[in-house]
């Protein structure tokens, strides 16, 4: 195989796998003929999607909006918290256990509390998306700050640099690759958070729609919802990966820019 065809094949590989799986799925349904509410064929899922595309897209937009607002707050709070706990060993020692504690609480268990505080619908969805997404950002930024080479700090300190100078010139740029790597994880978690909250306490959004579809045994519609969430998740991930490659190309050096890696 020539290197050129090999590269083309590499590019086509994810599509080949997805299409192959869809074909197998369709064949399995054709051969074993399960009831459609147990396992609908991909063609049936597609049909549901086309039939209900307007309400699906409306719900999807609601979910996407909540996710992105929650994610944006997560980026802001997460980076600030990361800088805060990463800049001082004392703060790190004090806050890190708390952060771990917050992160290990299942967020589905927090949603009812959020509902009491914030009502139903959009506010708890945004809050849950935020709660899930800020943690990886904070931890990664803190790790980036905490692992600056001491000699590099000495170079600047021997010039009389202030703590703020060191943060601006060295620590922050140094932690950018960690930050962008965490965005890819955080954005997918933000989707998880928004959908959990919508499933539990909302009258809109993909999560709510799936719950409604389930109560009516419209399995093909549930699958259509799942696929829309997946598509949005992949899209958001790719955007983050692209921004990462653009902003911190120096960290990956000459390696090919991989949109799916990491």
């Amino acid at each position: 195989m020539s290197p050129k065809t090999e590269r083309r094949l590499e590019k086509a590989a994810p599509w080949i796998v997805i299409i192959g799986l869809l074909i197998i799925w369709e064949l399995v349904v054709l051969i074993f003929n399960p009831k459609p509410f147990i396992l609908p064929a991909p063609s049936l899922v597609w049909k549901s999607f086309m039939d209900y595309r307007e309400p699906i897209m409306a719900h999807a937009m609601f979910t996407l909006t909540n996710t992105m607002i929650g994610f944006a707050i997560g980026i802001l709070v997460g980076s600030l918290m990361g800088i805060f706990i990463g800049s001082s060993r004392l703060v790190y020692a004090g806050f890190y256990p708390l952060l771990i504690g917050i992160n290990s609480v299942p967020k589905a268990a927090v949603v009812p509390i959020l509902v009491i505080w914030l009502g139903i619908g959009q506010p708890p969805a945004i809050a849950t998306a935020f709660l899930l997404s800020f943690f990886p950002i904070a931890v990664n930024v803190a790790a980036g700050l905490a692992t600056v080479e001491p000699e590099l700090e000495d170079v600047l300190r021997s010039l009389g640099a202030s703590k703020l100078d060191i943060l601006r010139k060295i620590s922050l740029p140094r932690s950018l690759p960690y930050f962008f790597a965490s965005l890819k994880v955080a954005v997918t978690l933000a989707f998880v958070g928004a959908v959990i909250s919508e499933t539990l306490a909302s009258n809109d959004g993909i999560g709510y729609m799936m719950l409604q579809a389930a109560s009516q045994f419209r399995t093909s519609l549930m699958f259509a919802g799942l696929i829309v969430i997946a598509a949005m998740g992949i899209g958001a991930y790719l955007v983050c990966a692209y921004v990462e490659a653009r902003m911190t190309g120096w960290a990956t050096r000459k390696q090919a820019v991989m949109t799916g890696g990491g």
């Binding site: 000699e151 170079v155 021997s158 010039l159 100078d165 911190t248």
Partner: protein
């Protein structure tokens, strides 16, 4: 004691008087003890010694990054109380910032040190020209916009030297800057450093374990004992400058190197035998 220069505000630029350094609490490691030395302004000094003699601790003390546990340190006539702003530093690891190109790395100190800091934005062209000229003197013309990882180890170290010198420091501190380079590159950079020093005549302190390097570059070599480090002897190197690789084959050069080597071997042996090392003799 061979160190005949009297401590005091006389003409010493770097002046250590009875300096000791202990890491941690009272039971911590004693890195340096009773260090007395004086380096004149514009002098090129080298500090050599067996491994673990506190050479790097000396660096931290002289630049004010770390306060001494006892004794006093004066640099440029004033007691050292915090990080000095008149120093440049370079280490064995070039510690370049990978997100900046060569020029950006060299110009980093200008963004920190006054008065350059406040002038940098209005006089950027002037400063850039200065950085380019400095890079050219170490043979890096044309590499200004290369990222650090595109440079060889020797080139990275040259860049690191430029970064240490761009703000015209009065004191250049070098901590084994060439230790990780191959022998040929190392000898090349000795010449580069000597040229820079002869041109600008900053006071330079080179910490190294390479005795040939010390004898090639320095006017005066301080030999330190094993931990806790003390200055056990001082050697003046009177070989005329500019020195070349050819100078290193000179019998007198080898005599100096041999003598220092013997002294270090002696303190190492005595250290393992548990005997306190005696004071060395001046050449």
């Amino acid at each position: 004691m061979s160190n005949t220069v009297q401590p005091g505000p006389s003409k010493a630029f770097v002046d250590f008087a009875g300096v000791g350094l202990r890491y941690g609490d009272e039971n911590g490691t004693l890195a340096l003890s009773g260090v007395d030395l004086a380096i004149e302004k514009g002098q090129f000094a080298a500090i050599v010694g067996p491994s673990g003699c506190g050479k790097s601790s000396f660096m931290k003390l002289a630049t004010g990054l770390c306060p001494p546990s006892e004794g006093s340190i004066r640099v440029a006539g004033a007691p050292v109380t915090g990080p000095l702003k008149i120093t440049g530093m370079a280490f064995q690891n070039p510690t370049l910032l990978p997100w900046r190109d060569t020029l950006g790395n060299v110009m980093l100190p200008l963004e920190i040190v006054q008065p350059h800091r406040s002038r940098l934005s209005s006089e950027r062209a002037k400063y850039e020209a200065k950085a380019r000229a400095l890079l050219a003197t170490v043979g890096l013309a044309g590499f200004e916009n290369k990222q650090p990882w595109m440079l060889s180890g020797g080139m990275q170290q040259r860049t690191s030297l430029c970064r240490a010198l761009i703000h015209d420091p009065q004191l250049l501190m070098l901590d084994e800057p060439f230790a990780a380079l191959d022998a040929f590159t190392r000898e090349e950079l000795w010449a580069v450093l000597q040229d820079l020093w002869m041109l600008q005549r900053f006071t330079c302190v080179l910490v190294t374990h390479d005795l040939r390097e010390a004898a090639y570059l320095a006017d005066v070599i301080f030999v330190m004992s094993t931990r806790p480090g003390r200055v056990i002897s001082t050697h003046r190197v009177d070989i005329p400058r500019p020195r070349t690789v050819q100078s290193t084959f000179d019998p007198h050069f080898n005599e100096i190197v041999q003598q220092i080597r013997a002294e270090i071997a002696q303190v190492r042996k005595e250290n393992t035998a548990g005997i306190v090392a005696p004071q060395g003799a001046a050449p």
